[in-house]
């Protein structure tokens, strides 16, 4: 349960409240699968679960994209090159990108939910020929909150991928859609009978998106979402992350909608 320490290579802001920390895992690199997370530890302050947001194909730099919300995540914003961060992981069940091959792939992201999805997006784009149509439906509160803006713009320019972005509240410059991300689902290019969906964002958004996809005909077993719960250990021992019978840390965080939907309907599980 002792973390491994890795030096910070760089820290940069993605939006007003979100930043990316790049760590040097050393010569051995750090292999992980898309959707897995690490427990990141700030010396003496605390340890929190953070998804890996980089490309699984480049194991030499380890990226985490973090929103500063409390003591530990805010302290991470103040990290500087050379500082040491404790890392335990990678933990958790990944996005089943293999299951999606030869199918249409639909990514649905809400806010910072794009970060845990990005490794899966990279994987799919790195192996583009293995997949049918690929789409990214991305919803954020306002245009300021757009994460990985340059990359999203680049993906938009690709002919082999459909990217739709929507905001809850637009400003005067905004030319895209306004409204919740679920509204993008009916017009997204996928065949519901041959599609796999990966959803990440606030729980309520994931629930609505999963419902909408299921309504459109995607099988509940092919809709995947990544759950978030309080975590103290990341390895199934502290009990904090329980959601009914599942430990989100080791049985998840990625689950099928089929496995979760009856629990998502109950309050305060």
């Amino acid at each position: 349960m002792v973390p491994r320490f890795m030096p910070v290579l760089d820290v940069w802001d993605d939006t007003d409240d979100t930043f990316t920390v790049e760590l040097d895992p050393g010569p051995a690199g750090f292999s992980f699968r898309p959707g897995q997370f690490n427990m990141l530890y700030v010396f003496g302050l605390g340890e929190v679960p953070i998804s890996i947001s980089g490309d699984p194909a480049t194991s030499g730099r380890l990226l985490h994209t973090i929103r500063g919300v409390g003591p530990v995540t805010s302290a991470m914003r103040d990290l500087a090159k050379g500082d040491l961060v404790g890392v335990r992981g990678p933990f958790g069940v990944p996005w089943p990108v293999g299951l999606a091959s030869s199918r249409d792939v639909v990514f649905v992201a809400g806010g910072i939910g794009l970060a845990p999805l990005r490794p899966a997006l990279y994987h799919v784009l790195n192996h583009r020929e293995e997949y049918e149509r690929v789409s990214l439906l991305y919803g954020v509160r306002s245009p300021h909150d757009l994460l990985f803006e340059d990359e999203v713009t680049e993906w938009r320019g690709r002919f082999d991928m459909a990217v739709r972005v929507t905001v809850d509240t637009a400003d005067r410059k905004w030319r895209g859609s306004v409204g919740v991300v679920t509204k993008l689902i009916p017009r997204a290019p996928f065949d519901p009978h041959n599609a796999v969906a990966f959803i990440c964002g606030p729980e309520i958004m994931m629930q609505f998106a999963a419902e909408e996809l299921a309504k459109s005909g995607v099988r509940a077993g092919r809709i995947h979402l990544s759950m978030e719960r309080n975590m103290k250990c990341g390895i199934g021992l502290c009990g904090h992350c329980q959601f009914g019978k599942d430990f989100i840390c080791k049985d998840g965080p990625v689950f099928t909608y089929e496995a979760l939907h009856s629990r998502l309907d109950v309050r305060e599980v």
């Binding site: 320490f5 199934g236 430990f247």
Partner: protein
């Protein structure tokens, strides 16, 4: 394994000697603050000799017995869990050096404990925690380190408590496995004696050190009869038939709301439970920032912080927290670890300040379910 031996009361002391000689620190029941707790014990005199406990929902009282029984009570608020999974302990200490961060070797050897007077329900609780911490894919090395060297002296329950229901949970009143020695205390006209069975080679070795003789068939039959009586004399019972489906299928049952109105969310039930394994960590650093420490301490699903994620607690209501606790104990535990998370020790009933009773809540939910079926 071996045949049953009889050790007379005056020779029972030698058990402590035999364990000490092998490097064991004996821990077990002793009286403190009018309660039977588990602590370090040196001799028979440290045991609650001649005491018994009267337990009911929200009530615990020690009273004198008419005899000088050594084990004439059931269980108090402590469980042996505290020795294997300490309520608070340091996981690691780190130090910043010019080369980076280095682990300060704690080097604390773990005590080699002998658990004296471990009741069958507690033995069952320990085997449940063995699964929780030792089944993988990740292991709790702290727990396993301590657990590996434990010597168990189990004591069968010839008398039961007012809140006990081990018979329902299949964990007692007789210890069937997992002990080094198992003891049944016999009192009465034929004299104060202990029927002892060894459950391991080490147990046989220790038993060989005590002056003993082979048990007579009448003595074995007496013990069996007492244990059978105890089986039928449990203060509580719980119908476990289809319990998982019953609870998982009733998350919106009105009874949760009602119990939520009574529950003080004091966490007592989780603190006394011998199987609860939840913990949190506290990270701190020295004032100069040179060293940091992580301490792990018991936690409870009855606090709001337990399920806190940015924005608030996911289980703000007492009803939801009670439901989490009971559904975990009796239902989801089965999915997670292939066993119930409740051994029927009754502690959560006794130590609940408002006397909430897990067996009654389960029965109430079952009753309305049955009524529903009857009407359908």
């Amino acid at each position: 394994m071996s045949t049953t031996a009889v050790v007379e009361r005056e020779n029972f002391e030698e058990l402590f000697e035999a364990l000490r000689a092998r490097g064991y620190e004996s821990v077990g029941p002793t009286v403190r603050d009018s309660t039977i707790v588990y602590d370090h014990i040196e001799t028979v005199a440290d045991l609650p000799v001649g005491w018994t406990d009267i337990q009911e929902a929200g009530t615990y009282r020690l009273v004198r017995r008419k005899d000088e029984a050594l084990f004439g009570y059931v269980i108090g608020p402590h469980s042996f869990k505290k020795y294997l999974f300490p309520p608070r302990h340091t996981l690691f200490t780190l130090e910043k050096t010019s080369e980076g961060v280095k682990l300060v070797d704690a080097g604390d050897p773990v005590p080699q404990y002998a658990f004296i007077g471990m009741r069958p329900c507690e033995l069952a609780a320990m085997s449940i925690q063995d699964r929780v911490f030792g089944e993988g894919p990740f292991f709790d090395t702290e727990y396993l380190r301590r657990r590996q060297q434990v010597f168990v002296v189990a004591v069968n329950c010839v008398e039961t408590g007012g809140t006990c229901f081990c018979t329902s949970m299949g964990t007692g009143p007789k210890a069937l496995e997992g002990f080094d020695l198992s003891v049944t205390e016999l009192l009465g006209d034929a004299g104060h004696r202990f029927l002892i069975e060894a459950g391991s080679p080490l147990g046989e070795e220790v038993l060989a050190d005590l002056p003993h003789r082979a048990a007579e068939s009448g003595e074995v039959a007496d013990a069996e009869r007492l244990l059978e009586q105890a089986e039928g004399a449990m203060g509580r019972s719980l119908d476990t038939g289809g319990i998982k489906e019953l609870l998982v299928g009733n998350p919106e049952h009105p009874r949760w709301e009602r119990v939520g109105e009574q529950c003080l969310t004091c966490t007592n039930c989780t603190m006394v439970c011998p199987t609860c394994f939840c913990a949190t960590v506290e990270d701190t650093q020295s004032l100069d920032g040179a060293t940091a420490e992580r301490v792990r301490r018991w936690d409870s699903c009855f606090t709001t912080e337990f399920s806190y994620i940015h924005g608030g607690s996911l289980r703000p209501s007492a009803a939801a927290r009670y439901r989490q606790w009971m559904t975990h104990k009796l239902a989801s535990w089965i999915d997670q670890f292939g066993t119930s998370g409740c051994v029927g020790c009754g502690r959560c009933i006794t130590w609940c300040p408002v006397g909430i009773d897990i067996t009654k809540i389960a029965a109430a939910i079952r009753a309305s379910e049955e009524k529903k079926h009857a009407l359908a």
